[in-house]
């Protein structure tokens, strides 16, 4: 049987026990989704809705309390346990993403070394990747000498080095300034095409999601589920100011307001 290269979530639910062991919190409720090979997916939802929890499940860090997650036909928990040699899923976080005691080069080859890749393979991959992410001149720098955008590039390069099929990003650009974020968007699209990866991006930034994704999944607040799925039919590069773009944006904003759990309180200044 041909192995299906896709991520499938069927009826995933997650209940988190509170610290007092008395009560529990239903975080995820009946999540169904399918992500195909080479897709660029964004997940948007109100903060605290369990977006990170969902991709923790897909990464195999967490077991759902009900339902099944399935990556390339395997349970992600098992996939994570014996991923030696070929890690399938890489995670990119917002901060604390690099090993501060290693140089850019050492950070990039960290995964390859732990997987016992051959010296020649490590060398050739490193020189290809470091060039493509534009860090050749910074090879011997340490993380504290890099800007936020550069750190993210190193993290992405490290994910590319072990050739994992899926890159799961958890609000990676939130801490960056506008210009850097813009250039990281272009960079990410370039990497996505060049290396033919499947990318799942969690974000707060609606523009970012419309700008980059093939599809956007919208989540409600907890117990959260996927309330809408939106395919973005716009050719890339996309124009942030055009009418179509704004129509998508409007739909997403309306959705977020509808499913936000905290009632919108209007601020009235006291005289």
């Amino acid at each position: 049987m041909k192995r299906a290269k896709s991520i499938q979530c069927k009826n995933i639910g997650l209940v988190r026990e509170n610290a007092d062991n008395q009560s529990s919190l239903e975080v995820l409720l009946d999540i169904n989704m399918e992500i195909h090979q080479s897709e660029f997916i964004s997940i948007i939802g109100p903060s605290g809705c369990g977006k990170s929890t969902l991709i923790d499940i897909i990464s195999g860090f967490l077991k759902p309390t009900s339902g099944t997650a399935d990556v390339d036909g395997c349970d992600p928990v098992i996939l994570l346990k014996d991923n030696k040699g070929h890690p399938r899923i890489s995670r990119i976080f917002q901060e604390k993403i690099l090993f501060p005691w290693l140089t850019v080069t050492q950070n990039i080859i960290f995964g390859m070394k732990r997987n016992n890749f051959s010296k020649s393979l490590i060398q050739s991959r490193l020189s290809e990747i470091i060039h493509k992410v534009g860090l050749s001149e910074y090879a011997e720098y340490y993380p504290h000498q890099l800007s936020g955008g550069m750190k993210q590039r190193v993290a992405i390069a490290r994910a590319l080095s072990v050739d994992s099929d899926y890159i799961l990003m958890d609000e990676p650009f939130t801490a960056l300034d506008y210009q850097t974020r813009k250039s990281m968007h272009d960079f990410l699209l370039y990497i996505w095409k060049e290396f033919d990866k499947t990318i799942i991006l969690i974000t707060h930034d609606i523009n970012e999601a419309i700008l980059l994704s093939d599809r956007i999944l919208l989540m409600s607040s907890i117990p959260s589920t996927i309330t809408e799925e939106m395919t973005i039919n716009m050719p890339r590069p996309r124009d942030e100011t055009c009418v179509t773009f704004n129509n998508y944006k409007k739909r997403i904003i309306e959705h977020l307001e509808r499913f936000s759990v905290t009632p919108t309180t209007h601020y009235t200044p006291t005289p």
Partner: protein, 265 residues
Amino acid sequence: MFFGIKYDRVISFLSGLFSIALLVFIWEYTAYLDFDYTKILPPPTQFLSSLVDHDFRIGIGSQSATLLDSIISSTLRVTIGLLIAFIASVVVGVLISSSIWIKRFIMPIVEVFAPIAPIAWIPLALILFGIGDQAAVFIVFMGVFFILTITAVKQIETVPKNLINIARSLGCSQSQIWLYVITPYVLPGVFTMLRINVIAAWMAVLAAEMTGLRDGLGAIIMNGRNLFNHDLILLGMLSIGIMGFLFNMLLKYVQDRFLWWDSIN
């Protein structure tokens, strides 16, 4: 800042040199004027020249040792004790942290031993090892090992989950995570704690040399006291001051050069 950083450092250095020189000058000058206190506190020209007169040897007959020998033996004792304690505390810290149950059973023991100052281990060390290098190394080790172990365990608790999860998804096994992520992460914090405790360890060795051991910088002072030789007392004190200062500089260099990363990046 006005002169630039390099200039600033030169000026700081020269100022320090000047104030030390001034202190020595006043000391020498009052000795020249025959002030009473200089009988007890002979000036540098006197106690240093008495050292030269004795071919840099201190002590009587076969038990005498050169000043250099004393400095080396004191420094080696402290260094070896600290080195063993540093490595052992990281290893033990990792082992303790590997299981919540080991932690629950072992940590209270460590926490009872930690407040025992290095100096308090001297009598036991002399009983166990007699007069010798092992006793001094033992004192330094016991004096700092437990506090460093606690630091290692606390540092391990602060390793960001992100870093561990990244390592896992990059294909690291559990043991690789301990070796390549957690251990390097905690080293600078443990070393900082070592630097804080180094003075206590240093003093304990000197005290041990005064009470039991026959050589080392502490023994010079004790010799001076027994022989009513004020030159020796001051020579010992000066050597201790300079060596402590240099030792601290060395540790700072090691930290800046090899264990410089802080945990935030």
